[in-house]
């Protein structure tokens, strides 16, 4: 158990170091988030009340869509740069899974935070503590789903397939995250849904990941 935790930590730290070097998540996701929020602001029209009520939904939509390019870091990038086979041999499946989930959790939560701050500024929307809690919880479940489907797709080919699988699987996070961060909605029940979503996605990812790592 200790060795799995320490190895998962090493995998996660390696992801952080890679991001510090390549800034792939930052350069792919940050412009995407900004562009989407700005375009959504223009597309949803000039009425301030419409924009304000759409803000939580726009933030979450951006996060769910950002998971698609981020999934590349799970297996596709490793494979292209000749590290996937080494990683599979080097790390126990659970260490690889939790390390990758931890890293994606950070990227997705960051994407949510940036999107939420942007909508707060551009759409004049307010943010709540419950919304932030929902952001963290939703990003965790979404990270589990992203790692699972990133390993399933495995390569850059047909990443549209990834979208068609990832987006429906991210639907509970989209729905509950949006409601939890909408002012005036009783957030407690939605937070509970996010906790249930996290439990289920992480358990399924844990159970299925070793099957996907086999040769």
């Amino acid at each position: 158990m200790v060795s799995v935790v320490s190895r998962a930590t090493r995998v996660a730290l390696r992801e952080m170091a890679l991001e510090a070097g390549a800034r792939e998540a930052a350069t792919v996701v940050a412009p995407f988030v900004v562009a989407t929020v700005v375009l959504a602001g223009l597309g949803l029209g000039p009425r301030p009340d419409v924009l304000r009520s759409a803000a939580p939904g726009v933030s979450w939509l951006v996060v769910v869509f950002a998971a698609v390019p981020l999934a590349r870091s799970v297996a596709a990038a490793e494979r292209e740069e000749g590290c996937w086979d080494l990683l599979r041999g080097l790390a126990p499946a659970s260490a690889l899974l939790w390390g990758k989930v931890a890293a994606l959790w950070v990227w997705l939560a960051a994407a949510w935070a940036v999107a939420t701050l942007l909508t707060a500024a551009l759409f004049n929307a307010s943010t709540t503590a419950m919304g932030a809690l929902g952001g963290g919880l939703g990003a965790l479940g979404l990270a589990g789903v992203t790692v699972l489907f990133g390993a399933i797709i495995g390569a850059q080919r047909r990443s549209g397939m990834l979208a068609v699988l990832l987006l429906p699987a991210g639907l509970p996070a989209l729905l509950a995250g949006t409601q939890a961060s909408t002012p005036g909605v009783d957030a407690g029940a939605w937070i509970a849904l996010l906790v249930a979503y996290d439990l289920i996605t992480l358990a399924v990812a844990w159970a299925a990941f070793p099957v996907l790592l086999e040769g």
């Binding site: 060795s3 126990p92 407690g188 029940a189 849904l193 906790v195 249930a196 844990w206």
Partner: protein
């Protein structure tokens, strides 16, 4: 190398975690939040905003329908509370008194609900036009409270 758990162990863990997750959901009272429409009693109990869009469902009260050119006015009820609905546009063909209906729109003043979308909600009960051969019991109640 740490050994990977056996497939059956993994399935059992997923099952247990799913049960726990469903328990969390059951305890959360999400049922009340995740509704497609509200009933007249529910909106009567809450303060009304004149800007917020509401989806309202209930039974069309018998004898309340008045059709004008391009609009229809009727009373939507759930047995406890009533809302007067003014719908702009022609109602769908199967719209009739005593049937379930859903309207979308905003409240205007105290009791008038201005709707721009009228959807008929049909029950899960079916019978031929010749009602004498077959008469399902409590047909009206079933439509309002699923």
């Amino acid at each position: 190398m740490t050994r990977t758990a056996r497939p059956r162990t993994r399935l059992v863990v997923v099952g247990l975690v799913s049960v726990a997750a469903l328990g969390v959901l059951a305890a959360s009272g999400l049922q009340d939040s995740l509704v497609y429409y509200r009933t007249p009693s529910e909106v009567a109990a809450r303060p009304r905003s004149t800007t917020q869009r509401v989806r309202l469902g209930g039974l069309v009260q018998r004898g309340s329908v008045r059709e004008d050119a391009g609009s229809v006015r009727f009373v939507l009820t759930d047995g406890a509370a009533e809302v007067v609905v003014l719908h702009r546009g022609d109602p769908p063909g199967v719209f009739q008194e005593g049937q379930g209906a859903l309207v979308e729109g905003t409240f205007d003043g105290r009791r008038l609900f201005r709707s721009d979308l009228l959807v008929v909600r049909h029950s899960n009960e079916y019978q031929g036009a010749d009602g004498e051969t077959y008469r399902p019991p409590d047909a009206a109640v079933g439509a309002a409270t699923p």
